[in-house]
Amino acid sequence: MSLSRFLIKRSLQGLFVIWGVITVVFGLRFISPGDPANVLLPPDVDPEVRAQVIAELGLNEPLYVQYWDFVSGIPVGDLGLSLVTRTPVASRVVTKLPATLELAIAATIVAVIIAIPLGVVSATRRHQPADYSATVFSLVGISTPNFWLGVMLILVLAVQLNLFPTSQRPIGIDGIVLLLVGGNLSAAFDGFTTWLWHITLPAITLGTYFTALITRLTRSGMLDQLGQTYVRASRAKGLPETLVRYKHALRNTLIPVITVIGLQLGTLIGGAVITEAVFAWPGLGTLIINSINARDWPVLQGSLIVVAVGFVLVNILVDALYAYVNPQVAYD
């Protein structure tokens, strides 16, 4: 199978999964007890008014009509209206997206910057104190619930030592970019430092699990590579050890590591939801939790679709990258 055929097949699979996701999310409303009309109306409302509201919401239509309305809106970005605010769900989700993406990307950067060197050091100094510390760190890191880590960071660094703010996001990257475009450089710089100051603790909270995970993966991958024949051959032909380690072994280690980072994106988004709850970070996670508490089904459904579709798209991208770097995959 050629690369392009592999990509076409993968995209078709992805499309199918996206359709499945949309259908599952549509079905969520029907497994929930209670009528969406009850969210809008007081319990003692006049039956006529009630019937009118139900008709306005389209809830008395046959199921296939409702399903078609739901599905056909999605490609054009119509996710329906919020039951509570009566505003388009899509625009609410889009306004919350930057905060979550920013947090997820910051956490990934923290994780990659710390984990890959740590994993390499751990593998190249196997059974030395550095290796043991890295191993213990990664064991504790994957075993710590991130919300508790967040609470502890707030407790020590924000409340006791007053080094960081406890919560909130006064400005985002989108706001900073606007300031830059407006030519207000000093305000943009101030905005950036404020942003950095506020995102540090949430990024560490969200990033620690990934740091631990990637450290483990890099260590085991690196150990695996260093035991390969080509490493012995390069050493035998007299290549400097740094070149052997960092140019050859590390490169081959990183390919599977990148795949796992892509696969773990779902965990990252899930982690972002709870991290947002800890730090009152106004992103998609906060939106999801609020919409559940308010029984605002359309907002919950819209957010779930955006998260799941994003995950599927990123995975196709990672697969494509993987197949490009390692063409063998496409032939399997």
């Binding site: 007890p33 994957i142 710590t144 609470v151 502890m152 996670g285 999801i288 559940i292």
Partner: protein, 354 residues
Amino acid sequence: MISERTRRNLRRELQRSLLAKIGIVVVVFMLAMAIFAPFISPYSPGQQNLENARQPPIGFSTKETKEVTKMENGSVVIENGQVVTEEQTVYTNATFAHPLGTDGNGRDILSRIIYGARTSILVGLFGTSLAALIGVLVGLSAGFYRGRVDDVLMRGADIMLAFPSLVLAIALVGVWGQAQAPIPDPFVVSGIAPAFRSAVGLPTGMPETVVLPGTVIVVVALVNWVWFARVSRGEALSIREEEYVKAARALGASDGRTVLRHVLPNAITPILVLATIQVAAIILLESALSFLGFSGADVSWGFDIALGRQYQSTAWWISTMPGLAIVVTVIGLNLVGDWLRDALDPGIEGEGGV
């Protein structure tokens, strides 16, 4: 079902690895704590004592400044028609009655951690069992029948995987509400635990029921079965090509019998390793749901961490202690998982395998 060779590998790996020993000790300790909670818990987890609220753990004391009514000669001082208040510094010392301190309502934190272990372990074990049941059934069928069955089942699994597990769990619990089943605590109902407690002089009045968080168990299983499906499918794909499976089918064994008697026993090792790690993952998931207030549990480590947040500037231990309990338990389970994996080397892929 466990062969002599497997047992030998397990024993050898255990002797070699200190971490495996630590893991087993931790897991056994936590299990014992959960099972024997009504015997060892100093108080009932719900017993409040507002006068004793926010007592620090042993080794710490707190200093708090309070606004109190000014008293002189046993009567309230009134100036200009107003009750006069003054600032008073109150020192609270730890006592051995509450080794880990008390929470905002004066409940004993150690007792809450001991009883919280029950919630975590119940959800961990039942949730994993249910997830394994669904996942193994789906995975073995997909791998055994291949073809269209495989396609349909595994695409279904792909759809489940597209949802981040925590997000899906929150959505499902939010949608379904919080069904809970109180099951009677055999030690308390039979009178053994109360008799033991009054004999050694511990306060009685322990809760008679253990709350089984039904929705949470179902939801964590629905969210996590996919990992079992993937692993058991992979195993079934290779085992179905083995001679003994072909022989069984040639002898006329039904599909069900072949899968249960020949495929499943040979796929059990990686499933067990995955299950160990999944108990840890599900305990983390439960604590996250409880932290967000979605699980409905009122004695749970995650829930207590959330409760402690309102006292984060005055009583750090309320949030800290239950979190440590989670970390220790999950580390223990991960160590046991590592031990099983290193001894049995099943080469698991996916979330549990790293």
